[in-house]
Amino acid sequence: MTDQEIIDLYFARDEQALFETQKRYGASCMRTAMRILDSRPDAEECVNDTWLKAWNSIPPERPNVLAAFLCRIARNLAITRYRALHRLKRNRDLELSITELSECIPAKEEDDTLQHLIDSFLRGAGELDRRLFLGRYFHNYTVRRLAAAYGLSENAVSLRLFKTREKLRAYLEKEGYSI
């Protein structure tokens, strides 16, 4: 079943939509949640919430890319859950990546201009740097995983991420943002 057919099921309010979504994207959403929560029970609840949120959002929304739509929901739910849990066992890798991110992106959530600038910057960055940056800070892959996936050393990945962060920071500061 294609993404479009699944979305049509949502619009028809057919619960088969959830089944097909789970079948097709359950694993990737689970991994997204696991990378943040590092706890299977929590991740499972997060994924279930993802389906619920998708069900409540479609319609009226009609995602262009269903996978990205779900991934974004799962990511947001997972990070919210992570914060709410005040985990005893902290996900240090996640916290490190967020700390790094906060050093190059200002704390402004609902700022269309900022989001447009981030998007523009990433489109202008090299393909590898963009993938590494989003892989690390959007998808929360570990440096090790990225290094293995792209055939780089971990230090090379870290260095590239560092340089991209510095460039993004400089770019945003040039556009008038204070970080």
């Binding site: 789970q22 991994r31 906060s102 704390a107 959007f138 792209y150």
Partner: protein
Amino acid sequence: MINEKGFAAYNALGHVTDDLIMDALLPEDQGATSAPVKEKRTRRLISFFENGWSVAIICALVAVTVMGGIIWAGNQPESPFPPGGTVAPDTEEEASESLPPLPPSIEDTPNEDRVIGVRDLRHTYEPVKFLAWSRDVTEENGMGQEVTADGLGFYGTMTQSSKMPELPEVSFIKNEELEGFFGISHQRDHIMERVTVYDMSMNEVLTDTVDDDWSYSQCMGALPEGRYYVSLYVTHKEGNHHSCASDYAYLLNVTDSIEITKSCTVKTDRDKYQWGTTNCRFIATLTSTVAGAVLEIDDGAWMLTNLDTGDHPDFFVLELPYIFLMPSSSTDHAWASVPLEFSWETTPPGRYRLTYTGTEPTEGEAYPFYDFEIDDPPLQSDVHTLTFLYCSDTFLRDDYFVEEQHDGGGLSSAIYEREMMVEQAVDLDLLFHDGGDFLNYGDELKTSVLAGDDTYAVVMTHNAYGMTDLMTASILTDLAEMNERHEIHLNAGYWDKAIMEDVSLGGHMYVGYNDFLLPNHHMVVFNQSMYAPYVDAEGNLYDHVRAGDWTLEKMADVAALISGQNADGETVYGFGSNGGQQLFAFVPAGGVKVVDKKDDGIPYVAGVADNHDQWVSLIEWVYDLCNADNAYDWQENLVSPGQNHTILSSGRVLLSLTSISEYRNLQDRAMTYGVLPYPKYDKAQADYHTLYYGGMLGVTTTVRDTAVVGRTLDLLARHANPVHTAFAETVLGTSAKDAPDDIQMLEIMETSQTSDLIFVAYDQGYGDPLFNCMFRRLTAWNKEQTAEAMQLAANQYDRYLEKIHKRVAVE
């Protein structure tokens, strides 16, 4: 915790557009979209092997194999398939071409376990040697592209076999909610290194991956109805070692449920063979079967030779029929896979004997190393308590003895669980008595033993002080004799017999070292953020260690990178040390044995007598390191106690000498530092050597039942692996899976640990002149004067060594 600023930044990035999100997603998270990528690459290689280059390449592979080399998989990307899903099939026709069918041997495989064999390699395992191999390969790869010297390799997994673990329990689960998923669960000390799922209906690899997120406990993957061949490669984690490995192979029939129609576990066993690997799936992997066993290729069939009988037992290679080719890191070539059966067809007929020329097991190392199990009945004895007296400034009580159960894992839990298990196995209460600091523990022990008191059964000593007294005053039992009576088992890997022999005196092993003692090595730490800007130019330091080129020269080069001041105007340093033993540790690290024994067993200062030039050269190197403008000497600059690591922890020293016990006290070490072994003298030096500088074990002569004490020491050491794992995580300040490089470095240190009689028979200042003239006066280095002072000190120490030798020597 995440603050509001971080959370806002995280959310701000959450609004990037869909195409960018998808572009950065790795294939396994893109749904079932990556198979064509793999198929495409496979097809390329099929055509590659169908052309004339195949024979040449395979011949090269075999030639390389026969030479005895290996690519260490731990150094390679985990998955043979790069991310991105960027390569789609060129045509539908190409995409629809099916791969060769599975070889009939998989279907015909008996539904039973196969036992191959294992020997303990913990102290003969020399990972650095394995790396040399891949450097020699230079080939045109058959696709019109030249592969550089280190470029052509094989994806394989090196297996270091060690003690026999309990095999993990593997299960497949049809998840009701997430239909089509399968899972594997096993114990935490088993690491799932690799999962391969082969769709037998479609003749394609569905997944072939290692995923950090799941490697400890489970994996998942879409598994619609159909028939599958699933291969799992699992290693058993022992302390810092990823050792004994097991391959699982299953034929699955997936309908509404998952039915295992055939299973085969290729596992290791300690009973029969010197060495075994379960991982004979690729040619390159086969070469990892080092240290003793002989594997032969006979007309394309693998055979295992039993070292004892020369027989060739039945042996099946259960694996997907693929060789993976890894491209050069300097090119953009993709990973590729080659159907293995093509390689068989092009393997020239003949016999190829692959014998590792490195460390061969000696006869004395042959199994069985030990002849008891944890669940054997306790030995009959009237001893009901067993007391360990420990030197309190060498051993932390909490690292060895935990009185109450702790929840939530970690070091305390591991210690407690082992203690309970061993106490039950020997039916004894284990007690730990604080014998005081290094000046006092020996006196209390001597007083007790010389009075005939059997209160203390085992002493955990200081690493140097008081040792000679204990060894020469009839306080300690000869552990070699206990070994001869099979009360302890020194050939087992959990004892370090080599160190014990090095520090033996007069033909007696009075002090012992085994895995019950936690490691305390001297090591090098480096500040990762300070080094980050130099990685591209200077290379990854971990890689230098793995490649065997972490030498004094390299260390000096790296130290020279940092000097001057940082952005805050503070002085920064390329190298820092605390002098003393930290500097002396360069001597064994550089391959110089300070004290050796003559043919008549009398110890002497061999470092001066036999290795004088290298010793002096070592001092010169270290002198230059310590006296460079960008070096910091804590000893010299010490203002107050506890200040030692102020400079280091403030992020102002790139390379620093420390020890495990010091390092674990550093804050935020996991985020800031990396650990490395001491460097080799030069590249010609075969191995790293790491000075072990912790205390040792001794059994008192008043012990009533040495058999019970021996069994206890054996069990405490043999079941120390969870403790070592937890300890390594404690030392690093992070979980093992988050610091694989550092874990590997600790492993290298542990497998290369060494000691020397000078570090044991050191007390009363007899060893001091050597230390003094070598390193404590480095600021006044003068080659001639120091050489002369060294000779005088060596003469004096020689006389002392001969004296204590004669006091205890076997007549």
